[in-house]
Symmetry: C2
Subunit: 241 residues, 2 copies
Amino acid sequence: MLHPSNEGSIRHSPLSAIVISSGDVDCIAGLLSLRESQPLAIYADDFVRDVIEGNQIFQVLNRDLVKRLPLPAGPEVELLDVQGEALGLSVQAFPVAGKIPLYQETSDDIRQLSSGKAVIGLSIRGPHNKRIVYIPGCAAVTTDLLHHIEGADLLFFDGTLWDDDEMIRAGTGRKTGKRMGHMSISGADGSMAALAGISVGKKLFIHINNTNPILCADSPQAAAVQSAGWGITHDGMEFHL
Amino acid sequence: MLHPSNEGSIRHSPLSAIVISSGDVDCIAGLLSLRESQPLAIYADDFVRDVIEGNQIFQVLNRDLVKRLPLPAGPEVELLDVQGEALGLSVQAFPVAGKIPLYQETSDDIRQLSSGKAVIGLSIRGPHNKRIVYIPGCAAVTTDLLHHIEGADLLFFDGTLWDDDEMIRAGTGRKTGKRMGHMSISGADGSMAALAGISVGKKLFIHINNTNPILCADSPQAAAVQSAGWGITHDGMEFHL
């Protein structure tokens, strides 16, 4: 969430608020690279806030200036900066099937995969009542999830893998997508099939692993997702709603 | 420590070992951006290893492949990769006056500044018996420290600040260098004076804060350190011993 509220400070940061959707390293480690003593609001659910409180290293973010704020699944929350000024965005968090962060795993026990509290999706409402749904990791599309996605102007959805075992076949890992808490794009139980009937303005795959063939512009897999109405994201992309 | 031992893996990383000199965020947060499942040896003293064990997020580095190895102050340790292969470098750690990491501070109590166990310096011996001394943070030059530095071929030394109160004057912070565990370069009690008589091949300031006037090539302060025999480092610099 960009906002000019800190402007004028010689160590100005344009970030006024951050909303965190899981405790995975790629969602939270960036907090350690931020200015430690600039006003900032961090919105996260109890699961992520417990991670941030439970790992002392995050205390580097000065509590007098960097507020940890609740984002419970359910209600729509109007985002405010630390001075209480509205940022023009509201966010509704909802539970998404997924798994606990890798660093919390204590064994290969598959039962850890769907704790039902470790991952959230975000429905973000901005000016002109436009709505973005952000789901970077998803193990299964449920009826409840379809309800949250339906009618969004822009959907960003978990595009980690094309095939469940593609990392094993590529020799880049020993885990399936299911084991990592990611449903695949392809197949009868894939995200393309599960979201085929959904009514959204624009739908895009994000969080795309480097083994995923949709990253090759001339691949049949890229053609398949595009003909199914999906866009493939890349660094530096911008959207205006 | 670069080494080709992992070569051939499709997710090859050229890093075989990492040596950590303090628990500060700038010394350890980078561990979270590494390949999680590639062979790697992490050498650190008890203080830093306690931080890594005490912050669960670092468990993301797969313990089967990423070994946490001891680096006690005192003995010279030959660096090995996780397969036990010598890397051609040995390291001696020694205590340096400094302070505990910012995120461990519980108050502004100045007594926390010199715990005497939170920061180490490194004496690194490579092929041809050449020796590098690496001290990115230092609150005071002691007789013991001079002993470790003396005779090095290359010295990298804490160049955070020129003046103790420069960050306060610049409006970038509310702390003095002393409060942050950094002695300044200038003045009768500064590092230039303390290290004036030292016999080393080449001495360079590192860890230079963006308020430090030696970063301006045409400043009198840059001229002063250079005429005292110091070099000023910058990103991308390379040295061959």
